[in-house]
Symmetry: C2
Subunit: 194 residues, 2 copies
DNA sequence: CATAAATGTTCAACTGGTTGAACATGATTT
DNA sequence: AAATCATGTTCAACCAGTTGAACATTTATG
């Protein structure tokens, strides 16, 4: 069992060796090259993937063809179009690797078996989804109540690792502004701090 | 057991009579008058409440004093500052009743007991939080990729009951626009459809 | 029914952020 | 070393949505 995943599991539950073995038996490993897709918008998301190394972005292409990044994921995070994976319906986001990426992945079927054979994971994933939801709600609030500049500063503070790893125009997309405007904000901040 | 809650539970799990009894034993009933708060921003959210009649709004007051509504809830929906309730930390939203409202409510402690005594509810709430998360993510996408008018139309279509029940300026707040702008949009739509 | 409180509309001035094009830089490939 | 591609910057014109004030309408309430 990968140490990153084990330590995440142990954050929420105290699994027996059997639980761990069962989880292990449901997980596949896979490597994606930079640029490859974990899911494409419109498909049914086939796996829930736990990233052990690398980085992905989740994004939606709107009818005008504009890309909106909803999420980045790095080592220790789960990645998928969760809505699609959980309900086995068409994904409204794609997930694409920004670096060569190693994952552990489980199918929807595997997930059902896991819950049945090792019910402790009901609690684990309940906790995970609780936290995901809390985080998503906070983002809705932030988008409504903060200016573009404040959103950028909050992002910098919260995800310093990610800002180093992904191009600036993707950060702009994640924050819901144009790359030009983010560039302007950064310029302003440079002036302020000198 | 209230039929609305029972039917929601049965949507996700097949509970035994004992499960139902256990849930029932953890739930209190309470009535709030119009204008009363289920939680106030800054407090720790004391209950998770299932609304059996009435209507609530969840909102955040930002540092400039502007109110941003994040959610409405009516009969058959759960209401709380979920982040605060689940992690027992200060709420960043208040929840206020827009009508006289009857609820069934459970405490954080009661929730832990419920999971222990009737583990089937792990699954029930996992499913509930999964759906909440999916919904919240869709909202993030909508806020990024739709115009104010499109957001209003989507809201109308999705929550026709709610539009009838709450004042228009609250709908505007929920949709992240000013009441004046929503008024203008509605005017436009009237003209278009005549 | 008279008054006040809550809600909804209109308008003109404004602004935060967008658009699109042009240019600069660096990284990759051939 | 040339060429191409991905990234980042700058600028002027523009626009979606805000602000604040004034007025209109509806709903409670003494």
């Amino acid at each position: 069992m990968h140490p990153l995943l084990l330590s995440q599991v142990e954050q929420y539950i105290v699994p027996s060796q059997e639980d761990i073995d069962t989880l292990h038996s449901k997980l596949g490993t896979r490597r994606y090259l930079k640029g490859q897709y974990l899911v494409q918008q419109g498909d049914i998301c086939p796996h829930l993937s736990f990233i052990t190394s690398g980085c992905s972005k989740t994004f939606h292409i709107d009818p005008q063809g504009n890309e909106h990044i909803t999420r980045f994921a790095i080592e220790g995070w789960w990645s998928a179009d969760l809505g699609s994976f959980l309900t086995q319906t068409a994904a409204d986001c794609s997930v694409k690797c920004l670096e060569d990426t190693h994952v552990l992945q489980i199918t929807h079927q595997g997930m059902q078996e896991l819950y049945k054979e090792a019910p402790a994971f009901e609690r684990f994933f309940r906790n995970l989804f609780e936290n995901s939801f809390i985080h998503s709600e906070k983002r809705v609030i932030a988008n409504f109540s903060l200016t573009a500049k404040e959103r950028y500063l909050a992002f910098q503070k919260r995800y310093p690792q990610i800002e180093q790893r992904v191009p600036q125009y993707m950060v702009a997309s994640y924050l819901g502004m144009t790359k030009q405007f983010l560039s302007k904000i950064r310029n302003q901040l440079m002036v302020e701090n000198s």
